[in-house]
């Protein structure tokens, strides 16, 4: 209690000071950082598209939906998506030209929250319900979210979803077996990919559900997985080696807006 009161007074002080110096300027470069337990790490994900996903594979999406109690809505307007696939030409419109083949244009590319170094959603949130953890994850505090959806407007990647209707009711309607390891959400709050922070932070060998499912699915196809996950602050991390080895063929979505995404695409 004492700590939160101190935080409040500190913030009130900053707010007054901010008012004197002309509002939100100067806050742009530093997103609030919470968390000590996982300090020093920098989680990141690599999507290796050098060999595209097996045709029609939805393993990553399915395992994520199941593990995180994500309901499936019939109405496209109410969709909740943490990881899903979009055609190449919509993900990297700047990489398409008049001579691009239809196969490239329509190539399904997995997309998810980029867990930016400099996330616009975190800057926008009026209650710090979305924030950055010490290990680089853009996290959601669903207890605190007021459902204003400013973060949906701010996200340049369309990675956020809002619970337009009661997700729990929908899950029960679908007859889905609820995972006890992860809460559902309530109506009126925003949600997004959390890099499976509920499992990766404690267990060094654990992977996000999507990456794990991708591995299994790809090994069934006798090939290397598309999704790779790791800690970029660990000099011995295979992920870092993968990024370095692919050199200039590593691209990110909209790097020009300075969000510094931590989902990398190898092409």
């Amino acid at each position: 209690m004492a700590a939160s009161r101190r935080d409040f007074i500190k913030l009130a002080g900053f707010s007054v000071a901010g008012l004197c110096f002309g509002g939100p300027t100067g806050c742009a470069t530093t997103a609030p950082v919470n968390g000590q337990g996982t300090a020093g790490k920098r989680w990141a994900l690599v999507v290796d598209l050098r060999t595209p996903c097996p045709e029609g594979c939805t393993a990553c999406m399915k395992s994520c939906n199941l593990a995180h109690n994500i309901p499936q809505w019939d109405d496209i307007k109410h969709e909740i998506k943490w990881i899903w696939k979009e055609p190449w030409e919509h993900v990297f419109p700047e990489q398409v030209h008049s001579y691009s083949t239809a196969a490239l244009r329509e190539l399904p590319v997995p997309v998810l929250c980029n867990h930016c170094d400099n996330p616009p959603c975190v800057r926008a949130c009026p209650t710090k319900a979305t924030f950055k953890t010490a290990s680089g994850i853009v996290a959601m505090d669903q207890h605190r979210c007021i459902g204003c959806r400013y973060c949906l407007a701010a996200c340049p990647y369309g990675a956020r979803s809002f619970n337009w209707l009661d997700p729990r009711e929908r899950l029960e309607e679908q007859g889905a077996a609820l995972s006890r390891d992860f809460p559902t959400r309530t109506k009126g709050v925003v949600e997004k990919c959390n890099f499976c922070s509920e499992r990766i932070n404690d267990d060094a060998s654990a992977l996000p559900y999507c990456v794990e499912a991708c591995r299994e699915a790809c090994s069934r196809h006798g090939r290397e997985p598309v999704l790779h996950f790791g800690d970029l602050h660990d000099p011995s991390s295979p992920l870092l080696a993968l990024l370095r080895e692919s050199g200039a063929n590593t691209i990110r979505r909209k790097p020009e807006i300075g969000t510094r995404p931590h989902v990398f695409y190898l092409v």
Binding site: K77, A124, T127, Y150, L152, W164
Partner: protein, 387 residues
Amino acid sequence: MLEKAFHGSYRYWSLVGILLLVLAIGAIAYVVQFFTGLGVTGLSRDVSWGLYIGQFTFLVGVAASAVMVVLPYYLHNYKAFGKITILGECLAIPSVLMCMGFIFVDMGQPTRILNVFLHPTPNSPMFWDTVVLFGYLVLNVVIGWTTFGAEAKGIAPPGWVKPLIILSIPWAVSIHTVTAFLYCGLAARPYWMTAILAPRFLASAFSAGPALLIILSLVVRKYTKFDPGREAIQKLGTIVTYAMAVNVFFIALELFTSLYSNIPAHMEHFQFMFLGLEGETSFITPLMWFSSFVGIVALVLLLFPRFRRNETILAWAAGGVFFSLWAEKGLALLVTGYIPTPLLAVPHYAPTIVEILISTMIWAFGFLVLTVLYKIVTSVREDLEQV
């Protein structure tokens, strides 16, 4: 003064009754939305703000526009605005209340709205918007109450209110600037991310707000014995003309920069708005053509002093300006900003009946507050003139 609100004509009570009825119907719609979720609106994952936030944005402008009567009267001692200033302040109060109402009904978790103050977040423009709007409401209530209370008693207003009045002038500019910052700081939405958004907001506010005030003044003069004054109404007409001309100029600047530069991300939004995109034409396209036409015609009428001096034409032109800006800012601004989406989809959005009923409820609430405030002002003025 408040007792004046409880003694009125049959016409006054009928108006109050009708507004209360609309409020009650809207309240039922809100109960439905509260218990079902915002899924009862036309909003979606891709167009996540719509009618509610559009109305909020438009009304912040109407609220801020009170400065257009306060500034000439108090800073330049422009006597002709002596009677109309209180009408401007009494328009700002219900406008801010409606803004708050629209924000409230847009919340997914309205019961947690105080989290904005429990966890203040200076890096969010939305936090600042809440702060400046509350401040503006308090300023206007205190200023209006004190100055008009003094006038009713036939004494000079207390000295301490003058600094507050001076403060309310930049404060009015600040509420609309911060509202523009909500949008123009988002790299995700090229249509909004323009440095000219705040000036554009102010220009459209300073035409739409005084335009409404012209209509309200004419109504007040027609139905009560209180006359805000022909000179004041004419001067408002001049203000609307200049502000609307600047607003049209700003929009032309936007169009030039977006279209001449030929950057797809910037052009596509205008394409969607005026032509439709990828075969998807929403109600925004006909609305924008119609409202642009109405806006231009109104501006042309206003530009000629001969037309402007005719109060019937002035009233129609003011109505045209108000409608045109309401369509542009209250609807098109929001929807167009979201389409195409960051993933280049062209989603469909149209407000639902529930959404429209709830919005009507808030407008009815605003008009109710406005009616009561104007009733008090006109009754006090009528009494003063009889003495």
